[in-house]
């Protein structure tokens, strides 16, 4: 983004795409959630300036915007690291060692969950079930799923992401963490009775 971050600029930039969104709904209010996503995807985070801009674009009370941004956990109210690591610690992942992996991540990155590394590259969070229970423990890095985590695979991944950063390969980080490179393009052996079977959902790159 080159323009200054201001309410006027957000309004200028997002009015047209938000108008597209409103066509999907009979009320303006329904478009608030997608509008929040749009602002977050555009600027990386959400704040009062964005709430106000969205409320003006949609002509809805600002509280309607703020109450959603504060209720739903995927809306981020502060600048996140370039790579948002979200490790699942819910029961199926926990049973497969998720807490050990969390500890390893905290040690490696020198941060606690909820924090961002000093270089701004990593934010570490825990997350509730992300639907990768058969290949636990699982973690999302931005939109990419990483499954069957081990200390070794975590080290490899962090090295890869750090390297991409030090070599200023911003596009690399993007391509490493977008949903299209995600797992599951080769999932699922359904098993017949009494046959030995392969683990299901495949591992991604």
């Amino acid at each position: 983004m080159t323009a200054e971050y201001s309410k006027q600029n957000i309004i200028a930039e997002l009015t047209a795409p938000i108008a597209e969104i409103t066509k999907c709904y009979p009320t303006q209010r329904s478009a608030i959630m997608p509008a929040l996503y749009l602002a977050q995807d555009t600027y990386g985070f959400l704040d009062e300036i964005a709430y106000l801009a969205i409320s003006e674009i949609l002509d809805v009370p600002e509280i309607w915007v703020f109450e959603l941004a504060s209720f739903y956990t995927l809306y981020k109210n502060k600048n996140m690291g370039k790579c948002h690591l979200q490790i699942c610690t819910n029961v199926p992942c926990m049973l497969r060692g998720a807490y050990d992996m969390l500890e390893h991540l905290q040690t490696r990155l020198g941060i606690n969950k909820g924090e961002t590394s000093k270089d701004g590259l990593f934010t570490l969070s825990t997350v509730e079930c992300i639907g990768s229970c058969d290949v636990a423990p699982a973690m999302m890095v931005n939109e990419t799923y990483h499954t069957k985590l081990s200390k070794q695979s975590i080290d490899q991944l962090l090295d890869q992401l750090t390297q991409a950063e030090t070599e200023s390969l911003a596009t690399d980080i993007l391509s490493l963490t977008q949903n299209k490179s995600s797992e599951n393009n080769k999932p699922l052996a359904n098993k017949q009775p009494l046959t030995k079977s392969e683990p299901t959902t495949g591992q991604e790159s």
Binding site: Y25, I32, P34, L68, L74, T89, D134, S182, N185
Partner: protein, 425 residues
Amino acid sequence: MSELVLLKHITHPDSTDIEYYEKNGGYQGLRQVLSDYSPDQVIETIKTSSLRGRGGAGFPTGLKWSFVPKDDGKIHYLCCNADEGEPGTFKDRLLMERDPHRVIEGMIIAAYAIQSQVAYIYIRGEYGLSIEQISQAIKAAYARGYLGKNISGSSFCLDIYIHKGAGAYICGEETALLESIEGKRGQPKLKPPFPAVSGLYGCPTVVNNVETLACVAHIFARGVDWFTAIGPEDAPGPRLFGLSGRLQNPGIYELPMGLSLRELVFDYGGGPLTGQFKAVIPGGLSAPMIPLAGLDVKMNFADLAAADSMMGSAAVIALDETTSIPTVGRRIAEFFSHESCGKCAPCREGLHWASKILNRIESGQGRPGDLEQLQVICGGVFNNSFCALGVGASWALRATLKHFSHEYDALITQQTIPIRDRTRP
């Protein structure tokens, strides 16, 4: 079951392409519905199939559709609940990522049955690839005339939109889901009125799970007789069981209901990772765990209910002898506490309270009386929550206390710190 149906095309590299889907019989059921069936006949067919919802509650699908008023002059809505969030559940994600047209076809048929011209699919925000695949499938379906105006030459018109969730487990509850589409916080509403009468934007609305709608598409492709021949009479049809936790072969298994939990975790799951199973959670984290001695229970709605548990989302989470039940109990309380929408005090305060006590017990600060206190909070506080979230948490937690109180006791009596006399101020 000799032939896989729900998972049949999952592993094929082209399974998400509309050409592949059509070549393998896709959208033929829909075409037949639009040319030969009245909406009422579609509802009757689904009633005859005895299809029950695959999301959690297991409500008969045809019956749900039949509650929508006819010729009331109102707009009707169909919503597909793809906010899969019940811990242990990952089946809908697979269907959307690998067989998205089946879900779309099921949605179109359901929308026709209830005469809805606008449908939403509410997909949880974390499922980026599901959103991508469904979105491409919708585009392809428009291009082929399966969506939009005058579908396949009929007078029926339908638009489908994706509404992306934003990280709230409670939005899997149908009234919360509808609130969320309306642009509000995902907080459940009092029923009645049920959505079929007053749902999205106050209009009659049906909310169906992803797997349920996939089954609808299969029923019209293969016939009711095929469907009812699979599994028990009161719960027929194929079902996706998600196996996870401490067993050898986790994964999705397509099987008829009615087999025993033991078969599921031994014959399919391959048995425990270490030693012996301690207990198995049969239907997602809200379903009360069943101890080893109860594993012969049949996986159907009635038998699981009789065993004080539930079928839920058919997500089977196995716990073996390395598993600490108090830790699982603590995690259950933490999860539901985190996901409480905050609307009602019993759930909001009770779960927070319980999770504090459980954390304390786990970290070596347990006190005599803690378990009794937990029983009171479970049974008398969040069990009285507004929606099923607190109730489910209460059931799940109480099962850990009922079957494994000795594990909690062991943690508490082992304390080395002085135990405060709690009868004094």
